[in-house]
């Protein structure tokens, strides 16, 4: 992040975790995918604030998941509506909320190939609150139209779809998503609306006055550093050390 004014009393990761925790809201079950330390921080923060609610599943950690019926149980849970919040990202995300985890260029002869769609082509439809999270906010990642739709942002009205995207959180701002479009909700401290416009490849709505993202309160920072960080260190030791220990910010994008 480019911080031009006085040094902030919090780290960018702490701001993002606080933003995401507010988006999670009061729900029963949040699941976080592999290699997602900031969403995991947010989910654990939400659980601390809610005195144990929501239930938090951190995929890839046997200590933080209850599943005993194999890999399918996560998707069966989601299909039934037993997961309220999930996180997805994309090599590309477009203004319609479509995400691309597969390739850039022609699918048969891609210029760039990503790992693949994982569970997105199911979870994006059935989890009520999907939060899109991409720390690199640039015209490379936030595009007018994705080259490959791993999962679409919206469907025709007759398609069964109890879930979908509610927001996109980046290193620069928070967008909300409704009716097939993004709206700029707030801009993080140190960034400007002009910054966001300049670095976003898709068209979005915005109010006449776009507020700054509310910084994390002293109470939140204390909770993050003293209560959440030790729990996080069980699953993400490097991240916990870098962000909440003595190291540098892990987020440079």
């Amino acid at each position: 992040m480019c911080m031009t004014s006085a040094p902030l009393s919090f780290r960018p990761e702490e701001l993002l975790a606080d933003v995401i925790a507010r988006l999670i809201g009061d729900v029963r079950h949040v699941a976080v995918g592999n290699a997602s330390p900031i969403p995991a921080t947010a989910a654990l923060l939400a659980r601390e604030r809610g005195n144990g609610r929501p239930y938090v599943s951190l995929l890839g950690s046997p200590q933080h998941t209850f599943w005993t019926d194999g890999g399918r149980e996560l998707f069966d849970c989601a299909g039934q509506g037993r997961i309220d919040v999930f996180f997805l990202s994309g090599g590309q995300i477009d203004g319609h909320g479509n995400i691309n985890l597969v390739s850039i260029g022609d699918y048969a002869h891609p210029k760039v190939r990503f790992p693949g769609s994982y569970g997105s082509a199911h979870l994006y439809y059935v989890v009520p609150k999907v939060i899109l999270f991409r720390t690199e906010h640039s015209r490379r990642t936030l595009v007018p139209d994705v080259d490959f739709i791993s999962a679409p942002g919206a469907n025709a009205p007759n398609v069964y779809r109890p879930g979908g995207p509610i927001a996109l959180v980046t290193n620069r701002c928070l967008f909300s998503f409704a009716n097939g479009r993004f709206t700029l909700d707030s801009v993080h401290p140190g960034h400007s609306v002009a910054d966001v416009v300049e670095n976003t490849g898709f068209d979005f709505d915005r109010p006449a006055h776009v507020p700054d993202t509310e910084p994390p309160s002293p109470t939140t920072l204390k909770l993050l550093r003293e209560t959440v960080a030790p729990q996080l260190a069980e699953v993400y030791p490097q991240f916990a050390l870098q962000v909440f220990g003595v190291g540098q910010s892990a987020l440079t994008g």
Binding site: G116, H122, P152
Partner: protein, 272 residues
């Protein structure tokens, strides 16, 4: 039905050139020792199904020229970066890719284990994953009213290849909570297991162990391979060898480096 294997190569003889082979995701225990043996043997034209994702195993099999078709939801080395041989094969177009989404693979194997021709799955409609899968169909839910839903044909592999903590002399394999290994075995015509060790006695005699046991009824051969998932980890037993995986990511970035890796860690049996 189960027969004790005379050797690892003997156990792997069920995996013929051109067969459909199903393998598990990284956290379920990946038979890497057996994978190196298959590469040494020079297995060809595999239709590899990775349930539902893969990492080092698929990347090595692709790089070594063993794979004709890959059916999975993602291949990545995780924190060690993109899977270099997978990425190269797809950008050049040397293998046929059947992109899926994780629950579609679980569901299609569940269809096979039930002996039914297909299963429905929510989601997928409007995605390019569905668009490029000519073998998947959309129907109108016959119990609903204007409710399109995707049907997935059963995936019936020729062989399931798994690695687990232990087996007994009756071919029963203890898989613990890695239940997708059971789904793979139920769905496949044959199952080959490598295990860390042999358990004295019968795993099905103890109700606590029996609950986590894949019965030998489904298992065709078992070979003992201590640290058989190395350099990947085996859940509840040992972790991944991060140093080695970083070395792999570095070496496999080029064709020449990958060839050197194979020479050093696969063809040289002492190191395998």
């Amino acid at each position: 039905m189960f027969q004790a294997a005379k050797s690892l190569d003997d156990a792997l003889s069920a995996i013929a050139d051109g067969c459909m082979l199903v393998v598990p995701r990284e956290v379920a225990g990946v038979p890497m020792h057996a994978t190196r043996a298959l590469i040494r043997r020079g297995v060809k034209r595999l239709h590899l199904v990775a349930l539902p994702t893969s990492s080092l195993q698929a990347d090595m099999l692709i790089g070594a020229g063993c794979v004709e078709t890959l059916e999975t939801s993602a291949v990545s080395l995780g924190e060690f970066g993109p899977a270099p041989r997978f990425t190269a094969a797809l950008t050049v177009g040397t293998i046929k890719m059947k992109d899926a989404t994780c629950p579609a693979l679980h569901t299609a194997l569940q269809a096979a284990e039930k002996g039914v021709p297909f299963m429905p799955l929510r989601g997928l409609i409007g995605s390019d994953v569905l668009k490029y899968r000519n073998d998947w169909k959309v129907i109108d839910n016959p119990f609903g009213n204007d409710d399109p839903i995707v049907l997935l044909p059963a995936i019936k592999p020729d062989v399931a290849l798994i690695h687990a903590a232990m087996a007994d002399r009756f071919g029963n394999v203890w898989i613990g909570r890695q239940r997708e290994l059971a789904t793979m075995a139920h769905a496949s015509a044959k199952t080959v297991a490598t295990v860390e060790k042999i358990h004295d006695g019968n795993l099905l005699d103890d109700p606590v162990l029996a609950a986590g046991t894949l019965p030998g009824f489904y298992v065709d051969s078992v070979a003992v391979c201590e640290r058989g998932a190395w350099p990947l980890g085996l859940p509840d037993a040992y972790g991944a060898d991060a140093g080695h995986l970083a070395e792999y990511a570095r070496m496999a970035a080029t064709v020449e480096g990958f060839a050197e890796y194979l020479d050093k860690y696969v063809y040289d049996k002492c190191a395998a």
